[in-house]
Structures are given as C-alpha cells and as structure tokens.
Symmetry: C2
Subunit: 391 residues, 2 copies
Amino acid sequence: MNPSGMIEPPKSLLKALNVPKKLLMGPGPSNCSPRVLHSLSQQVIGHLHQECLQIMDEIKEGLQYVFQTRNRLTLAVSATGHAGMEAVMCNLIEPGDIVLVTVNGIWGERAADMAARYGAVVHKVEKPLGESFSISEIEQALRKFHPSLLFVVQGESSTGVFQRCCQLGPLCHKYGCLLAIDTVASLGGVQFYADRWEVDVVYTGSQKVLGAPPGLAPISFSPRAEAKIRGRRTPVKVFYLDMTLLGDYWGCFGNPRIYHHTVPVTLLYGLREGLAQLAEEGLQKYWERHKNCSIQLHEGITKLGLDFFVKDPTSRLPTVTAISLPPHIDGRAVSRYAMERYGLEIAGGLGPTVGKIMRIGLMGYNATPENVSLTLAVLKEALAHATASRL
Amino acid sequence: MNPSGMIEPPKSLLKALNVPKKLLMGPGPSNCSPRVLHSLSQQVIGHLHQECLQIMDEIKEGLQYVFQTRNRLTLAVSATGHAGMEAVMCNLIEPGDIVLVTVNGIWGERAADMAARYGAVVHKVEKPLGESFSISEIEQALRKFHPSLLFVVQGESSTGVFQRCCQLGPLCHKYGCLLAIDTVASLGGVQFYADRWEVDVVYTGSQKVLGAPPGLAPISFSPRAEAKIRGRRTPVKVFYLDMTLLGDYWGCFGNPRIYHHTVPVTLLYGLREGLAQLAEEGLQKYWERHKNCSIQLHEGITKLGLDFFVKDPTSRLPTVTAISLPPHIDGRAVSRYAMERYGLEIAGGLGPTVGKIMRIGLMGYNATPENVSLTLAVLKEALAHATASRL
C-alpha cells in the first residue's frame, strides 16, 4: 500500500512478456501456422458487424465440412473444448434423464461427472485403460440401461485409444437414444462423418488438429438433437451455452441475428484461417497426412524398441500415440530433456495414465514427416539421457 | 456432394480473410493497442507450461491491482464477460436461494434470468431506464426480501447509467447478504475498490476498458464468497465455471496446479499486455484519463444541442455516454453514416433502449482527446446527414 491507501501495481507486469517458441508434439494444443498467427493480430471488430457475422458464417460452413454434416445448428462455442462437453450435457439433459457414458480414460470420467451435475442418472460402461469398446458391448449396455443419451469419445487422448464410431448412430436410434461424440483430440485427423454415421451431437476443440489457438469449441447438433432441446420441460441451466440462443446469434435458424454475447473475435479469425487451410488442402488429404505421419511415427517407435500402450493396432489414435514407459524410466526426465534441450514437447500421461505413458501428438500444422523425424530423434536421445542419469 | 459422397469444402473459405480497420467508439469491444495486438500473434504454448503459469500469475496480480483487492480467488474465466455473470450465479446460488437484482437496463434483466435458471427465488427492484438506485431504495429491498445475494451493475451500458456502489458492501453485510457487482463496462474507467467497499464478487470483460480482445472474464471472490462456495450443499452445476476447480488451476489456494481446461493462451497474452499498459500508466491516471475524456465528450455533446439520456449528471457513466435521439432522427442512419464514411462506430441502443438512444464509448486505448474530437466531428456531420436525408 502506498500513502493513498491504493494497492500498488505489480512489479511482474513491468517486465516484458515472455513467450518462448516451442514445438508442441504433445496431445494439444499444437502450434499454429504463420497464417493463423498473423490473423490473430488483426484489429478487433464488433460482434454484430457485418464482417464479423460473415466470418461466423464462413466458420459455420467450414465446420459443416470438417464434421461432414448439413446440420444447421453448427457453430463454435465461445470457450475451450471442455465447454463443448458442457454444452452437450446442459442442453440435452434434464433432471432424471438416463445417460450412458463409455469410460476408458479421463474424458469419459469427466463426462459422467458433468452429466451428474445436471441431474442425470449416469450409468458407465467401462473398459481397461488402453482398450476400446466393441459394438456388442455398447449394445448390451444400451439394452440394459435404456439411456436417452450415449456419450462416446472418438479419441481418448489420455490413453491414445481410437474408438470406432461408424455404427453407433443407427444402433442408438434403434434404442431411442441420442448419440454424442467427443472428437476434441481426433477431428480432422481421422475420418468422421456426422451425417452418414447419424451422430446427434459432436464437438471438438480449436487448438488441436484444426490448428487454431485454444478458446473455441466447434459443435454440431442433428435435427433430432435440436428437437430434443426444443422439447425440454425445463430451461437450459447455462445461459451462456443455451443452444437456442446461440443458434439465433449464429444465424442457424433463419431468423434475424440476436445479440447473445460478445464473440472472441480474434479467435474467430484464427479458427477461420485454420479451417481455410484445411479446406485448401482438402479433408481427405488432411486425414491422409495424419495417417501417414502416424505410420512413420509408429515405425520409428517400434525401431526404438518401445511398446505401445494400446495393444490393438486398430485401436490406436493417429493423432495421439501413447508409449508405455520402459521399466525404470522416469517419463518426466524424458519430457524435461526434450523441452530444455530442444524446446520440443513430449507429454506424460494424464489423469489415470500419469506415470505410465509418454504421449506424442500429431496435429494439424505440426503433422509433418520432418516433425516426426525430429521427434523420434529427440525421443531417442532423451531416453538415452534418462537411462544414463538413472545409472 | 462430389462422386465420393463427401460434402465439399465451402468456396467462401477459399477467399482471403477480410478484417477492416475500424475505430470502435461504441460500448465495447474497443480497439486493442498495437502492443496488445502484437502479443496475440505469439506462438501457442502449453496450458501447464511454466511460462503459461507465470503469465497466469502475472494476470492475477494485475487483476488484483485493477480490482483493488487482495482476494486470493482472483482469475480470468476462459470465456466472454457474460460467463463472469454466469460464474457468479452458478457458484453462489443453490436452488431456493433468494436473490435480489437491481434492474434498470438489460444487464439486470439478464442476471435475473440467469439466477432463475439456477433455481433462485428472484426478486427485482426496478427503476426507469436512465436512473440509478439510491442507497435507501436498496436498503428497503434488502429489508423486504432478505436475499442471500444482491446483484448490482456499476456500469449499465445499455443506458449509460453509473451506479454508486461504495456503500453497498457494509449495507449487504448488515443484512447477511453477499454483494455481486458487474463492472463489465466500467472497470478501469471509474473508481472501484473491491476490498475497501467490501465487495464479495466482481467481474468484468477483457474487451472493454482493459484493452484486450474479447474472450476472458476477470473475476474476484472475497473470502466471504469463497466460504459460501465451500459450504454448498449441492455441487456447482457448471464444471467449466466451478471456482474451486478453477482456483486450483490458477494456483489460488496454495495447492499444486491441477489441470482443469486448456486456457486460451493467446488471449492471456493480450490481457497480460493490456494490464501491463494499465499498470505502467497507473490506475489513478487511467481513471483520470477516462474522466477527462468524458468531460470533453459531454461538453461537445452539449454544444451540439443534444440531450443526455441520463438526466442526473452524477449518474452518468464516463465509459458509455447515452444521447437521447433527437426527434425524427433515425439512429441507424447516424451509425451507418459514421461507419461507412469514417469506419467509426457510434452505437445505437441495446435491448430496451433500441431506437431511443445513441451510445458513445470511451474505453482503454480509445479514450484519448483526439478520438473524442474526431467522434464529435463525425457525429455532427452524421446528424446533419441524417437530418438532410429525412427532409
């Protein structure tokens, strides 16, 4: 306090901002391209200006492309990926609803937590970490619990598990259930067809394969999901995530735009540019690039004599590869070496996999053969270093 | 659809991004300084990297300074200003709680809506648009309704009303009530002392006087409010806004950091730089600059023969000035002329004031004598144009 009784300005803010350059080869966020970064420094414009609304329209079209959907209720929620999960739960759940969640890692656990907060009766179907669900396991649970919503994670980034989703839509609908899929760590890096697969709600994060900075959660609701929202008996708890209001702001229902909140417009610039780069490359080529990089990475990992945490090769996510920690290796030492020496991120586990695995991400702008070669070389050196320092 | 059955990439994304330069003299967002804009294009880093955590710490200190508080539970919510209001409601309300909301514009209405969604018994104390509340009006309502939470807006941007708040804390505490203040349109532009005034929760938006882009909602809870959250009988509905979890991520409680969500790190860069510029200038000078600009603006408005929507000069907000629309003038024509001819934003009303007023904002980087002169000159010309085109 100074004599005036004011709390004084913090000294830490009188120093310059320090943002080191890093190569983010973990499970996200990933690096942004120069084009995306440049867009972020464009001046702010108003949240109802024509140019802003046009960027929102372009983002909507880009998201319909990457989700492969014609859903009109497709937009980006103004918050990080998690808010996508929250938007699913608060819009599609009313107290007493039965929700079935597949749990084989942290994201299923979190979805179950969120659903319970909104008053759902939550049932879990569980698998050991590192394994995916068979269609018959899911059907059995649908038959047993009669849920109104099934929640599945396509890319369980805490374990590197890929969940096959292409048959789940018709299955859910046979049992009168809606299908929600989390694609935060997978969308753009593996095939996804919202309409063809009859997905009722899908969301992702801007900061992973789409190559934009964190802060937006793209999401899309099918007409079936939209009808469920419109038929609610109770209001959506969260005004900020109420899809009927957001849909009006994003011009999804053909009505005049209605102000809802002030969109984070610089993040919209970045997402728009990330989607534009994806559209220019083409979605199939984008998927292929991620697949090819993951093949290169997986071959390299095998050559290094390391084990995959996910035993079944068809259940391995191309965008996040989990490597079992070799005996007596401290994963933190590996990550620290890679970061301190090369400014390169190799991640450890998350939630239930902490201390068990290392995770390497291949996402968007970072998914290149050169980055894979570099990451493998650094990994090899870091492992040798961690082994030596253990001796 | 092409022969492969794929939905094709949208043509709109194959064009270049179009972001015009505008001078935003409306009620927010306002323009960012070159320093803030530059920071936004720095590369993404991880949400648990040491450098990111340090930036979060610096932001926390900067917010404590601008809120004038030592509250440990001070941080920026990863969503726009509205989410600050939502965070107040979902953390401090349990079903059946009595909430008192002062309503003299759109923000009180919205707060009442949000509170009701979380199961509160909501009472309103209302005033005509353009008027503020006296302390005795508020005390009367506190005595009548026995609320556990009072919600007040310091800067009602839809009407340009400034609400005096300095005596409300002790008054609320006398009646066993917590005090929540919305400072989205005012913080940094007028005096605010969270601790001295015994405010229990205060929030703002990054995109107004703080001079950062939209997408973050700075918020601070007093120890009293924190105790209320810790004593809840029911879980906070919204995982994304649960302050006990967010406080752990932001290192507010002295515990090791726990991952909660991926912070929008480029927005943190911008807010950090906005706060740094504020700290360099000094909070008192920052307040003074806004006050001086508003005096210059108000003198100019009087010279133009225009009427203020807020009749009582002591209830006029320095950051948002509302001008009554002269008879037979179409406010949209004024705004359109200023924007098309000069790329300068003069806003209309919002919610209940649509068609009744024009609004001029003086916020952060934009609050300069030069911008006031320019805005007055453009306003004069635009009014002449709107008058002529009416004839």
